[in-house]
Symmetry: C2
Subunit: 391 residues, 2 copies
């Protein structure tokens, strides 16, 4: 599990070959002749191709991962020089943008030329996935390629990505450590009267200075003794005595996310807020202890829910108490009743209990762990039992 | 056009009502009973709802924009407290994630209850759009809602968003100025021997310190006398004498993007690189001069292409020479042959000529302009005719 930081840029061809061999086994179990990939994290997982250009919605990009041969990239010309640097040898391109046929005919030909075994191609059609191409083009592709059924490939893709390699875990650990240190340093940079927005900006800059590549997610919100929600903000609200300041971040290193929050007491917080803080901190302990190989995500949820209910939780609006993470801020599984995913060695999860202890006053904690044979190991530096204080 | 910076956070209800009235006119022209919106920039355009939580792919969010009533939000419970702060009054939610029915039945009921006039609902199915929901769920929705045809709403949506309001333009101008100043300051922060990655990190931090909200796009690449591509990087390549360092950025303020690049000479660059630089700089002047109301995007392309061809351009792999921008890094139209979009007052465009003057040596410039009655007005602070130099 020990990986040098200096080796945390890009993966070896051996890693991609190992991923691909495993992927092909899973594809066979799912009776798929190929996967059709359009979403940035899926393309990156299979090819190593890294670009911030995904931010432009203009051009679709495609990777075909066949059952019995190496992957094929079908991409806009603008990406060809960099895709040529990856382990892929079959890279086809068209002069995009070309609205009348933005890669569809080239892609259709590539899929049609694959050997047919099951007659099924898995596309990103289902759970926690969006197809990064115009739906009209997908429907047209489906009509053009005869003898092949396009089915939901998301269970197969998530099964492949859910178990992380040592290299993937090392990257998540590295970004977790960067963000942990930046969170710990924040009380020295923020004072009563500063706005949520200024606090978040200082954290964002510190995370960049400590070596993160990007910070796609850094919401912050404050309120007297707790917060009404945890996914929007920051706003220009000044921090006042008695507030809880909640900040979450998904920052990245070499493509991999951390996803965890910290809470700060602005001056002295109420006893009720302190009691809720302690219950949520203990619930996090319970969740970490429950996340052992052989248990399920529902078990992890129940361990946390028990503690929060006995502390008088009114529930919360988050809908679950943690989830997978990796190349995306959130990935399956979900720690919630009915998810029932078996917890296995190599999964990376957030442990994320939260409770509303009074109307509009929610406290949510979050840590990131990797599942090892002996249980959950923290990737984040554990939050203190009492909130850090900002004065 | 003068808007105070202090007023650049959020839009008034009057602005949303004006947008919506115009949208309804365009919807009528496109014979749509409603638009179904799932993508963050579309949701934000119509509601003002701002969240970084879009980074999580787990939960879909929906806004229905009907022809003859106010918009309806159908969203996960986690977003309800913040959506309640927008101008929308009809906000419906479900306890997400709920994989068996993640909003689909609630959404179907909401659409089914709308009055039917044209029998057509426009969804994000076409050009430069992706549907941010599982395609399986969309197909199920389409089957459930009887008597309504789901058609491609992207021409209608782009027509609405392509003409910017004064408030939108003010935000783009503000982020363009922030990035312009940060680019100008970079030569004082970077030296020969620093890596591309370090140069980009310093620029990223400076842009944040100058007040940008986020920097979703900041590729950087260097090479002797020019670069092979402009959408990937930075890498750990150290800057060497004779290199051109290319950096592009899409940073945001209050949701609105800039999108422009700058080139830096590392020490002294070759005469051939200097000649190409001058030709591309002049082509930018030509493009800006050609972007007048009544001309077309093809005219703008031709004005630049003429200059670059006469300078001996080998072409380039970008595929167009500029595009729209706003709530997204790139939006229609495209400055390219065959696009032929009429240029109108209120459009914001990038002017982006580029040429490969020798194999693998490309130089690309970019500025952002707003179209006014008297022609294109720069939003960026114009790049110098000779590259800034880094020693």
């Amino acid at each position: 599990m020990t990986v040098q930081i200096s080796s945390l840029r890009g993966f070896s061809t051996a890693e991609f070959e190992a991923r691909y061999a495993r992927a092909q086994t899973v594809m066979r179990e799912h009776r798929l002749d190929a996967l059709l990939l359009t979403a940035p994290p899926n393309v990156r997982y299979f090819t190593g191709f890294d670009s911030q250009f995904w931010e432009s919605p203009t051009r679709p990009w495609f990777v075909i991962a066949p059952l019995d041969r190496a992957p094929i990239a079908v991409i806009p010309e603008i990406g060809e020089p960099e895709m040529a640097l990856t382990w892929l040898t079959d890279v086809r391109s068209w002069p995009a943008p070309r609205p009348a046929d933005d890669g569809v005919s080239l892609l259709a030909d590539a899929i049609a030329s694959l050997p047919v075994r099951f007659g099924r191609v898995g596309a990103e059609l289902g759970r926690e996935m969006s197809l990064r191409m115009p739906v009209m083009d997908f429907l047209s592709l489906r009509d053009r390629v005869k003898g092949v059924e396009f089915v939901d490939g998301s269970p197969c893709i998530w099964r492949i990505r859910m178990i992380k390699s040592a290299g993937e875990i090392a990257r998540i650990r590295h970004i977790c450590e960067i963000a942990s240190d930046a969170y710990a340093a924040l009380p020295g940079k923020v004072h009563i009267g500063d706005t949520e927005r200024e606090a978040c900006r200082r954290l964002r800059i510190d995370i960049a200075e400590r070596g993160a590549d990007a910070t796609p997610f850094l919401p912050g919100i404050s309120g007297p003794g707790g917060v009404p929600q945890i996914v929007c903000g920051p706003h220009d609200r000044p921090l006042e005595k008695g507030d809880v300041l909640f900040i979450d971040t998904g920052s990245t290193y070499d493509g991999y996310f951390c996803d965890f929050d910290r809470n700060y007491a602005i001056g002295e917080i109420s006893d009720a807020a302190k009691r809720a803080q302690d219950a949520v901190w203990l619930a996090t302990e319970d969740g970490i202890a429950a996340a052992v190989p052989g248990s399920t995500t529902s078990d992890v949820w129940r361990a946390m829910a028990k503690r929060l209910e006995s502390a008088g939780s009114l529930g919360n609006n988050v809908g679950r108490q943690g989830h997978g993470l990796g190349l995306q801020l959130t990935e399956p599984p979900s720690n919630m009743p009915g998810d029932d995913t078996l917890i296995e060695v190599g999964m990376v999860l957030t442990i994320e209990p939260g409770m509303e202890y009074a109307p509009g006053k929610m406290i949510v904690h979050e840590e990131n762990v990797v599942i090892t044979p002996s249980g959950a190991e923290l990737l984040t530096k554990r939050a203190p039992r009492e909130m850090w204080r900002i004065d």
